[in-house]
């Protein structure tokens, strides 16, 4: 699926993820790795939880509070990486980082998340857009998975 640039559509996508986020709310079950990240300067606060089986991300949850860009982005992230292999999820993560730092937009990989492309023009907000992705990245990093089961608290 690919989108042509349509501002009205992007606005709807962002507001939709902001107001009715996907995969929101954490679960209390074994086998999940949870990472909690905060942006102390603005108060954004994000937890991301993943379950990985045989190199595939079987479930992703997130919970937190923050601005529209932070919350909508975390919801889009969860939608994008659910059911993906770790390699594919990493590629999407990289595509997202590239987009918000103005290094090209991969519509194939980013799907609805291309609605956030305007963040590239707002340097102070890049941190908002990437907070959920950063937390996700840590949940699947080798070290975090090795110490799994516990909750890792990290302050950015």
């Amino acid at each position: 699926m690919s989108y042509s640039y349509d501002e009205q559509m992007f606005r709807q996508i962002i507001m939709d993820h902001y107001k009715t986020p996907r995969f929101k709310g954490l679960v209390e079950q074994p086998g999940f790795v949870t990472v909690h990240l905060k942006n102390p300067s603005c108060g954004d606060d994000m937890q991301v939880q993943t379950q990985v089986e045989n190199g595939v991300i079987t479930e992703v949850h997130h919970d937190g509070s923050g601005c529209s860009i932070c919350c909508a982005s975390a919801s889009m992230m969860a939608q994008l990486v659910s059911g993906e292999t770790i390699e594919q999820a990493q590629a999407k993560k990289q595509a997202f980082y590239d987009m918000v730092s103005g290094q090209g937009i991969d519509e194939e990989l980013l799907d609805e998340a291309i609605s956030l492309q305007g963040v590239a023009k707002l340097p102070p907000r890049i941190k908002c857009a990437t907070l959920g992705w950063k937390a996700f990245e840590q949940t699947i990093s080798k070290e975090t998975v090795e110490q799994a089961e516990g909750v890792t608290i990290v302050t950015e």
Partner: protein, 408 residues
Amino acid sequence: MYNTDWTKDFPILNQEMNGKAFVYLDSAATSLTPEVVLEKMNEYYREYGVNVHRGVYAMGAKADGEFESVRDQVQKFIKASSREEIVFTRGTTTAINMVAFGYVLPKLQAGDEIVTSMSEHHANFVPWQVVAQKAGATLKFAPLDANGAVTPAALQSVMSEKTRFVALNHMSNVMSALNDVQALSRVTHEFGAEILIDGAQAVPHLSIDVQAIDCDFYAFSGHKMFGPTGVGVLYGKYACLQAMEPFEYGGAMIDQVQQFTTSYKDAPYRFESGTPMIAEVIGLGAAITYLEKIGYATIQTQIETLREYAIQQLEQLEQVEIYNPHNHEAATIAFNIKDVHSHDAVTVYDLEGVAIRAGHLCAQPLLSEIHQGSILRMSLQVYNTKADIDRFIAATKKASDFLDVLFL
């Protein structure tokens, strides 16, 4: 009614932000620096930029003279009884830590109590948490009134014979509520305790008389009162300073160094180790001169006029919620826009060229008191104009359409 005489003294106000003329409404975070202060610091580096307290040559004496004359100036500025009661520090945060770790902690015993409040800046909050934890002491909180102030009765309600130390602000940094610090000092002393006043937000707006207040310590920062960053002041009653342990050891603070023991200078020099922030202290002196030239009366009238106008405009916008409408001495307006996260809003202001603050404002305890995770704060100084407020209000009206910033 509106005075624009001072705006031209601040070169940064000729800048643009995001292609719009720069409107600065974040002076409570740091004030802008006037040309005269920049000049004075430049002059030090260009004309006599050598070390102080060391050189026996003429230029060193010149630097010494300029540096030490600021101590006299600060003494008069806050009406301390002697110049030796003025310690130059890196800022308010450092000053408070010096007192917490050099004065209070060594005397503190398990079971003692320290009193502070939920409206303190983290600088006057976290050090007391740490000191209390280290000593096994208890931290107590004087309750706030509806405007965010600590009344003498509120302080009295948490004082006991176990209270050793009280640390409160003169003016808070979010609500800008003004505390009657003279009465708070009186209550503290009635219980045989001592008090530090965090004056970081008060000094830019009110004339200070530490002897009338009768506080034991008073701390403030140069950068919030037209001075440079990296310099602040700790005032302490001389007996208190003499009883305080140094926080940092090294050159300049010593009297005599032997192989195994060292004796130290008397206060305040004992607390000024190493090469001090010479240009910054000299710049602070120029800032005090500048502030006194304008006069507190002018600053207060200007800010009050602008603030009343801004409040009046904001109150017409039903989406705006103001948290400190009745703090008339305040230089800040703490507010939120309904259904808009403060960080979404602040980008709208940013793109309109208007600098205001968003987030927890280094006052998470206070925000939890008013049940907000984050807020917006605009703050005023004498260089602001009615046109600034108009730009601010125009941006406020746009803030509900916060996604627009992604599609410009």
